[in-house]
């Protein structure tokens, strides 16, 4: 599918530019996700780490959406949607665990 994306991109005006922009976006989003891991390691309190992990989750959603366009493979959009749902559930679970002491009483 990677080859199809490149072939489509090369055959269209501005398509090569779009492929380049998506590649640059992928690299920047991956680097930025790596940087936010610093807050997971260093963040002084538990909510700091939860916020950082939530940010990493949102960034991975963006990376999946970019990768879907990079490969022209629409399945990765579904991956992004499912990752967003799992990230929300885990954030709520940790927040409840911190405040209430347990998740489901």
């Amino acid at each position: 599918m990677r080859d199809l994306g490149v072939a489509l991109a090369a055959s269209e005006p501005l398509g090569g530019l779009a492929q380049t922009a998506i590649g640059v976006g992928l690299v920047v989003a991956a680097a930025v996700t790596l940087v936010s891991a610093y807050r997971v390691v260093a963040g002084p309190s538990t909510p700091d780490r939860v916020v950082a992990l939530d940010t990493i989750g949102t960034n991975v959603v963006a990376i999946a959406a970019l990768y879907a366009m990079w490969t022209s493979e629409g399945l990765f959009v579904i991956v992004a949607l499912v990752l967003a749902i799992i990230g929300f559930v885990s954030t709520i679970a940790v927040a409840r665990f911190v405040t209430e002491g347990d998740i489901i009483e």
């Binding site: 599918m1 199809l4 994306g5 072939a7 489509l8 991109a9 269209e12 005006p13 501005l14 398509g15 530019l17 779009a18 922009a21 998506i22 640059v24 976006g25 920047v28 989003a29 930025v32 940087v35 936010s36 610093y38 807050r39 963040g43 309190s45 538990t46 909510p47 700091d48 939860v50 916020v51 950082a52 939530d54 940010t55 949102t58 960034n59 959603v61 963006a62 959406a65 970019l66 879907a68 366009m69 022209s72 493979e73 629409g74 399945l75 959009v77 579904i78 992004a80 949607l81 967003a84 749902i85 990230g87 929300f88 954030t91 709520i92 940790v94 927040a95 409840r96 911190v98 405040t99």
Partner: protein
Amino acid sequence: MTMLASLTTPVPGIALAASGGGGLTSPLQAALVVALVAVGTFFLLVGVVGLVRLPTIYNRMHATSKATTLGASSMLLAGVLYFGGDGDGLAALVAIGFLFLTAPTGAHMISRAAQKMGVPFEDGVTWPGED
């Protein structure tokens, strides 16, 4: 809407994947995808700079919960333009709506948890109405 409709027409001569295909079919579509990806990258960058640099958890959440949501939504909107208005593009649209519903809810829950844990505010900051 005419643009969205034109995106879903298959490219002649290329057998598209069973997942619905998509791809760049016009210069306008490619330019919009480039612009949305650039905006999304910028917002992701701003959000993480805020996460790393700001002093307390409340400030950090203020930066990340808005900026990264906008960044990811911008990427997904580029996906909607790329894949067309049905199939995978519709899934991206649903993901945008889901992000906009859940990101503020999650941030609110974490900030409430932090406040109940007793994580202090920035020096000199108090609740409104308290002196």
